[in-house]
């Protein structure tokens, strides 16, 4: 591997990116005035903004490195991990989203306490914090690895620099900063991924020539069923990713849950997830993995490009190191000044847009599920201050964990190993808790407690996983033995524990409406505190006027004509928003319809609405009825 001396133009682009992202993030700190703003952004954002920020969270810096490495080694089958989430969408859209959105829980552990009691909450808190902090560590490690390959910096230097930048804007601005910077970063990383693809295809002379240069065994969408035993084979990826990573991401990742609590309605949450899974995830799969396929095609084609790729992929030991596939493709294809810096910035964006979410999530759980339990009577400003301190601590712990992940053979292995080992008890408890009314606290505690014990046993005695291995052979000891199929073992064992315990100790208490799957109308009724209004409705456009007659802080009054168009009754839940759609709801907030009737083409609002929605008097706004 050759060390890169970065041209001035590339350095300028990278420095410019760092400055812009910090300024952008800190700018939005003005929108974080309370812990609610800091963690949830005030339930105001539009679906498309949440969708883009989700994809920025999905794509970590490890994604570019990991999937390019897998693309080079195994071919197109490496995209399997981005295309196997859909099977969980009925549970997510019809059960989990309504539960977390309408029950107003602030964290997943809080859901566990309300559904199963305090012991379940403590266990859930411990497991989720381990998951989130480890996730921060692996993202920092992979970015360090990439920067080392590209710039020759020491791993820990690049880790510390990017951790400080992400830490600054998350600590300052919280969830609003995360959402807004993630939009920018999602566009940046998708653009960079497709830029490499276009440059690569052009270098081959067209898509057909590129495809022809790729040997046939690298062209399949799914890998071989259970070969090779170690690494990417179909059944390894299916269980580790579709069950371990994907379920953990959608169901137990507090960062993602908080993202969907920011959205203005559950309906918009569903629209966001559909955009993510049907459009943005496939695009992201192409963006993060194509460099590996290009590197493979160039390597096989030989010639000048093949020689360049081989040179850039040669490690210190003189052998080809597949983990350099992304950086080798980038260095071979990019020659224009500044463009290489742009790709580096995108790689950094991928890291920060994932880590920022995780930092914010760790802070939320630490404040709501740990700190407030010991010191419940402090002011909101105090908790906000503590959240910022915890954000810094989370970054520091992530940095400390970097050497742990660097001990794995590949980045893909490191990521797979930790998700398969940590996630099964939590995801089984969440899905059974959400879908099965009889699933009791005894069953939940057993799944979390005994399930975790079963996972620990499988680390010391990996041979217990053999009956679940689908013919995959054990290829290591300890955590590295059956590191992918540990997810299958964990899911089956935890599900078994859950079923047996529920049959022995079924839930017999009062109906837990709002905490288990049920009709959306019932969820809405609980959320609103009155019968939901589902009649047809249309938005209205009015001018904001401050009116002191409105006593409740969240009330607004509209004229009769607007009431008729909205088809709304007093106390219906509305959303008042700046008319500029492209702000994505940044200047907006939820409101309730007052019994008072406004005059003219005006909407009367209280001072509270002006502050919560960051609106101004005489501003044109759009008002929609939510329920």
């Amino acid at each position: 591997m050759q060390e890169q001396i970065l041209p001035l133009a590339d350095e300028a682009v990278i420095i410019g990116y760092f400055v812009a992202i910090v300024a952008f993030g800190v700018f939005f700190s003005r929108y974080a005035r309370s812990t609610s703003d800091y963690f949830f952004g005030g339930r105001r954002f539009s679906w498309w903004l949440i969708a883009f920020s989700c994809i920025a969270t999905v794509v970590g810096s490890y994604s570019f490195i990991k999937y390019s490495e897998a693309g080079f080694t195994y071919g197109l089958a490496s995209s399997q991990t981005y295309t196997n989430d859909w099977q969980w969408m009925p549970v997510w859209m019809l059960a989990w989203l309504p539960i977390i959105y309408y029950s107003r829980v602030k964290s997943i552990p809080e859901y566990f306490e309300r559904r199963f009691g305090p012991v379940a909450r403590h266990l859930a808190t411990a497991i989720i914090l381990i998951y989130l902090v480890s996730y921060i560590g692996i993202n920092l490690y992979t970015l360090g690895k990439a920067v080392t390959a590209l710039l020759g910096w020491p791993v820990m230097t690049s880790v510390v620099v990017t951790a400080i930048v992400a830490g600054i804007y998350v600590t300052a601005g919280g969830q609003t900063s995360v959402v807004m910077t993630d939009l920018f970063q999602a566009l940046l990383l998708l653009t960079a991924g497709f830029l490499i693809l276009i440059l690569g295809v052009c270098a081959f002379g067209g898509l057909g020539d590129f495809w022809s240069a790729l040997p046939e065994r690298y062209r399949f969408g799914l890998a071989e069923f259970n070969r090779p035993s170690s690494g990417v084979n179909f059944v390894n990826v299916y269980w580790q990713d579709a069950f371990g990573s994907s379920m953990a991401f959608w169901f137990m990742n507090q960062g993602l849950i908080m993202r969907f609590l920011c959205v203005r309605s559950a309906k918009e949450g569903r629209k966001a997830v559909i955009l993510v899974l049907l459009v943005l995830m496939p695009l992201a799969a192409i963006a993060v993995g194509n460099a590996g396929l290009l590197a493979r095609a160039m390597h096989e084609a030989g010639g000048e490009m093949g020689a360049a790729v081989d040179t850039y992929m040669t490690g210190p030991d003189g052998k080809i190191d597949n983990s350099y596939a992304f950086t080798a493709a980038a260095r071979t294809l990019i020659h224009l000044p500044g463009v290489f810096g742009f790709v580096m910035a995108a790689l950094t964006a991928a890291l920060m847009s994932t880590v920022d979410t995780l930092i914010n999530a760790v802070a939320a759980i630490s404040v709501y599920d740990v700190y407030q339990k010991f010191l419940p009577d402090k002011s909101d400003a105090h908790y906000l201050w503590v959240a910022r301190i915890i954000s810094v601590i989370a970054v520091l712990i992530g940095i400390i964990l970097v050497p742990v992940f660097s001990s794995f053979k590949t980045i893909y292995d490191a990521h797979a190993g930790f998700t398969a080992a940590i996630t099964p008890p939590m995801i089984v408890a969440i899905v059974m808790g959400a879908m099965w009314k009889k699933f009791s606290k005894q069953a939940c505690v057993a799944v979390l407690g005994l399930g975790s014990v079963a996972m620990i046993i499988s680390i010391f005695f990996p041979e217990v996983i053999a009956p679940f291995s689908h013919g995959v052979e054990q290829a290591g000891e300890g955590l590295k033995g059956f590191k992918y199929m540990r997810a299958c073992y964990g899911v089956v064992v935890c599900t078994g524990i859950g079923i047996i315990m529920t049959l022995l100790f079924p839930y017999r208490g009062a109906p837990q409406s709002g905490l288990v799957i049920g009709s959306e109308k019932e969820f809405k009724r609980l959320f609103k505190g009155a019968e939901p209004n589902d009649r047809p409705t249309k938005p209205v456009y009015l001018t904001v006027k401050l009116n002191d007659a409105l006593t409740a802080a969240n009330e607004i009054a509209v004229p009769e004509s607007a009431k008729a168009r909205l088809n709304a009754d007093p106390q219906d839940m509305l959303h008042i928003s700046d008319r500029r759609w492209w702000l994505g709801g940044l200047r907006s907030c939820p409101a309730r319809l007052s019994a008072v009737t406004a005059e003219g083409d005006n909407v009367w609002v209280s001072q509270g609405i002006l502050e919560a929605g960051h609106l101004e008097e005489n501003q044109k706004v759009v008002i929609e009825r939510i329920m």
Binding site: Q87, W88, W211, F225, F234
Partner: protein, 70 residues
């Protein structure tokens, strides 16, 4: 057809169809999937269409595109 190609595909979409069907039946039994409601019906159609879309795209990637250009 080559079993090495079709086995992963059948496993993925067999398991996927089973998980989706079980989830949808459970949702219907719990009242979360009331197809008389317009919004819920739309969600149901999107869920099924999304699964079919992924199955078709994976089918092309597994059985058609690898052999293009030979």
């Amino acid at each position: 057809m080559d079993t090495a190609l079709i086995t992963p595909y059948l496993y993925q979409y067999g398991m996927g169809a089973f998980i989706m069907a079980a989830s949808l039946f459970a949702a219907r039994a719990a009242g979360a999937l009331d197809l008389r409601e317009r919004e819920t019906k739309k969600t149901f159609v999107i869920l099924i269409a999304g699964m079919l879309l992924y199955a078709v795209v994976h089918g092309l990637l597994q059985f058609v595109f690898p052999f293009v250009g030979e």
